[in-house]
Symmetry: C2
Subunit: 335 residues, 2 copies
């Protein structure tokens, strides 16, 4: 069983999850070669995953396009007792929470860009619906959807998939961020994301794509080369509240941006993270959901791990230019 | 020229350092093979580095054992104007600071464990003296010494070396940590490190080594497998204040612990970080210097990058046991 542990020196929480040591690993360190393997996420291998929690099909089809299953090697689970009965000497909590896998295609696809837009919109619907489900449970404090693409980004299987993770503790960097957002909102009446987006749209230098309701930008203070932030143009706290039509528009922008990234950096490894408002009661008007894409082109070293401050060797203006130039302007982009 | 940039959404600072894109890279991604190369850190190649800032020799020898040089590809420099004359619209500061390299052996050595203890003590003296030098300057806010060993840990050259980096901004995670420490110190009269160490020494489960004045422990809430923290048993804010005799004792413990790590995990890549009190005037009685060693056995993925919360698949008790069992109990260890 896993557990949350609090460090009194760093004032941080970690999840100690020894059960994850045995999970399958498709990649080996030398050269990231792929080991031949029966992929458990491919159609026909449904028995290789724990029982399905949800499935999605394309209009007019009966076969599945997207499946949601519990993570076979969960970092946290809902099967351990909660709330804990006994307090231990150290700051420890049982590893209570949700850890699911979203299988994003029945075929052995390795890039979201290979999906038709309707299929990508289904993937985003699965993200939304799973975050909705964890919000409804009332016993969780924090939820996130994230995606690891490529071994360098921490993926252990290459078949496209994402993960839903919801915990009973709010990671302190996130709690600190929310406090900062609340302060800014009280002072200005605007969300931190809105203020930032206004500046980015006015400057345009780091803009990669924009649609009627969303923008994709390489942030001014990007931690990593080619880092991207996608957010709605008007403040919306909950990714869970986005309607189907908007998800289709978002799929269009996301697909365009990811294709630019893959053209600009062939075989790019990256993490994609969907950030939404705190679980639990609001108001959350200081929040503004967003998606971040973190290409893993540099290796965090001692300075980054020691300080949390990043040294980024590529100017975000240059990163945005490379992404804009990677493909002809798309119909979704109105610069 | 590099610059500091503040992100209003994350409330973090990054260093944008385009000049670092051109630095030499000994490793290639496929298999971390080493590219044949004239190592600029080897004896006889002194001309390949910027002019020396300091050198250290072993007793009775005239040749150098440790050299300190400016980083040829600095993330920050002292040659740009400071304080800045013009405020820009965005939160930007010139990349003012110090970035030095400590070359830790004249020979092409790849592990600190290969050094005789007297040579390792010289390395620690160089760390101390360089931190002293940045503290004396009065125009810097934060200083750190760190070391990247192995390509997976972000090293670009394998010849053992460390880096000194000092900045005009305090990275917010560090500032937050100091605030947390101050609060704890006001409440308890103890440093956070002391309180933590007391618990660790009492439990003994995660203890790897201890000498008269120092202990090495796998912290209860380790972020990474085999993570280690070395600290003085009694609170001392400044690594810069450690006397030569104590550095020799520390060298003994560090060498023992690193050898255990290298035996337990052959070819381990790791980061080593020396944390000291804030630069600038004190009191810093809430601070307690320490060294952290972060083996890079797992890859941080979307969850870690998205939240700052780590999923660690190896229990720190188990990690400490593996390290203790890697070698016979050393004379330095009194369990």
């Amino acid at each position: 069983m896993s557990e949350y542990r609090h460090d009194p020196v760093y004032d941080h929480w970690v999840i100690i999850a020894p059960n994850r040591e045995g999970r399958p690993e498709e990649f080996i360190e030398a050269g990231w070669q792929r080991i031949a393997w029966n992929c458990p996420f491919c159609v026909g291998h449904e028995e290789d995953t724990p029982p399905e929690l949800a499935r999605y099909s394309l209009d007019g089809q009966t076969s599945w396009q997207v499946r949601v299953v519990p993570n076979k090697y969960p970092a946290v689970t809902s099967t351990c007792g909660w709330p804990p009965e006994v307090k231990t000497a150290h700051s420890t909590l049982p590893g209570y929470g949700v850890h699911e896998v979203i299988i994003e295609s029945p075929h052995h696809t390795t890039s979201l860009c290979e999906l038709p837009l309707a299929a990508l919109a289904l993937v985003l619907r699965a993200y939304r619906d799973r975050l909705r489900a964890v919000r409804q449970r009332q016993d969780l404090a924090y939820g996130i959807v994230f995606k690891n693409v490529g071994a360098a980004a921490g993926a252990s299987l290459e078949h496209i998939h994402s993960q839903v993770l919801a915990t009973v503790v709010v990671p302190p960097p996130i709690a600190g961020r929310w406090t900062h957002w609340k302060t800014l909102f009280c002072q200005t009446g605007q969300t931190a994301l809105s203020r930032w987006l206004d500046e980015e749209l006015q400057s345009g230098q780091r803009l990669v794509g924009v649609t009627s309701h969303f923008a994709a930008v390489c942030p001014f203070a990007s931690r990593m080369p080619m880092e991207l932030r996608l957010a709605p143009l008007t403040p919306e706290p909950y990714f869970e509240a986005v309607c189907d039509a908007r998800l289709e528009e978002l799929a269009q922008l996301l697909s365009d941006v990811l294709l630019r990234l893959e053209v600009a950096v062939p075989n790019v490894a990256y993490n994609l993270i969907v950030h939404t408002a705190p679980l639990g009661s609001g108001p959350h008007d200081y929040c503004h959901w967003y998606i971040e894409i973190l290409p893993r082109l540099t290796r965090a070293a001692g300075f980054e791990w020691g300080t949390g401050c990043f040294i980024n060797p590529v100017k975000p203006e240059e990163a945005a230019r490379r992404l804009r130039d990677a493909l002809p302007p798309s119909r979704t982009r109105k610069l």
